[in-house]
Amino acid sequence: MANLLEVRDVVAGYGNGPAILNGASLSVQPGKVHCIIGPNGAGKSTLLKAIVGMLRLREGDVVFKGNSLKGLRPDQVLRRGICFVPQERALFPKMTVRENLRMGGFSMADKAALENRIDMIEERFSILKERRDLPAETLSGGQQQTLAMARTMILKPEIVMLDEPSLGLAPKIVREVFKIVQIMSEEGITILLVEQNALMGLKYANWGVVLDLGRTLFEGPADKVLGDPRIQELYLGGRRAA
């Protein structure tokens, strides 16, 4: 099956600072959940930012469905079908839950279709319906993450990229967040996930990618990554996957 997205030897960094990504490559297959793991500073979040156009590519290319994304702004990348939820969840704190969802469909021209889509999302995630008229800043951490992830589904994107969705959440809430990942995957959305909780991330993933020092060290089926003794030792805290 042809790759949906390809990251080819990307070199990128912040401003005029040193390169964080030093030739990172990645293949994203349609319909699968991909989990990128690696130590702090490996360039995992930077890679997602480079794909979505938040960072300029100094070298290399990002190709989506055969077309280069190089030089596009984040809003232009979104219109091609790639949504990104950064670590900070990227909500609008003073806007209501419903308004936040509406912003998720900002690029939709058909207002009625947008409202229908929001209604469907609210039916699926009842907490968002219950809190629809409250400012997003009043939601708990887990509810905010639910809102941020559900909001990406408004557009029915082809790829959703999630940066550390479990960050700062209690274990019970983390499981709920990964359930949403599952729901997204069942809807046919391809997921690219960066996760510090590597064991959890790989359990829900089909494909694992190990990144270190801005380069891709290894990629393969998630169970193979989980079972590799070297990767367990270096990146999974020496623990064997259950």
């Binding site: 938040m54 702004r73 979104l78 308004e99």
Partner: protein, 293 residues
Amino acid sequence: MIIDIIQILALGISLGGVYALMGSGLSLVFGVMRIVNLAHPAMIMGGAYVAYWAFRLAGADPIAMLPVAVLILAATGLVLYKLVFEREAQSARYSEMTVLLTFALAMVVEGLLGAMFTNTQRITSPEYATDAYFVGDVFVPKGQLFAAVTSVAIISALALFLKYSRFGNAIRATTQNREAAQLLGVNVNHVCLVSFAIGVGLAGAAGALVSFVFSFFPSKHWEWIVILMSLVVLGGMGSVLGTVLAAFILATASVFVGFYFGATWSTLTFFVALFVVLLVRPQGIFGEKPELA
């Protein structure tokens, strides 16, 4: 005593309405672009001169000339943004640069207005500007009241636009989280361009109203910047609602001070408020608490 308080409130609220419009454009531009537009009062001056000369040359009512002042100033805002601010948007020293740029811009506008219209004090004088409504012993100058009502109508229209229109939501989203707005498909550069034009257009509207409420001359904008900064800081940097609320509070406070201690002290109210707010609650009424580190 009661009559005095009602009089202070009547004058303060009507004056606050004028200040609210003067400050709302400044607040909007700061919220969206993080630009402290020191040239904003100079733009208000520009609107005032548009109304003044339309009145002098054609006897046009300043309130009727308001849309013309808005259009001229908004167009000026579009050109200025493209020429001056857009290229600085990617600069690492964007905030510092825009302070210097807007300071320089204020000087240029002042110089141009001085060269074109001299430094003579001006004021438009439609009939209502020299009349007042009396309710018992309480009076409200008609000009100030008309200006306040027009201001409130414009600010209400702005609030409805920001709350209910698609582009208004994009402006609010960009104000609250610029990166998130871009990730959701908002072209933030376009939002900044239009917001700057709206902000400067509001300055034009305020100028048309100010032209019959205060006398003005090109360098008077330096006096206004202190007043407007105190409104924006008390309201919370970037909060239009906060600025409007602060305008009513501080205008009433300044009328109170003027009433009991003399008019020369009333401007001091804004200086003191600016100082106290920065000391006690730097985030103002509706602003976010600044993060340390």
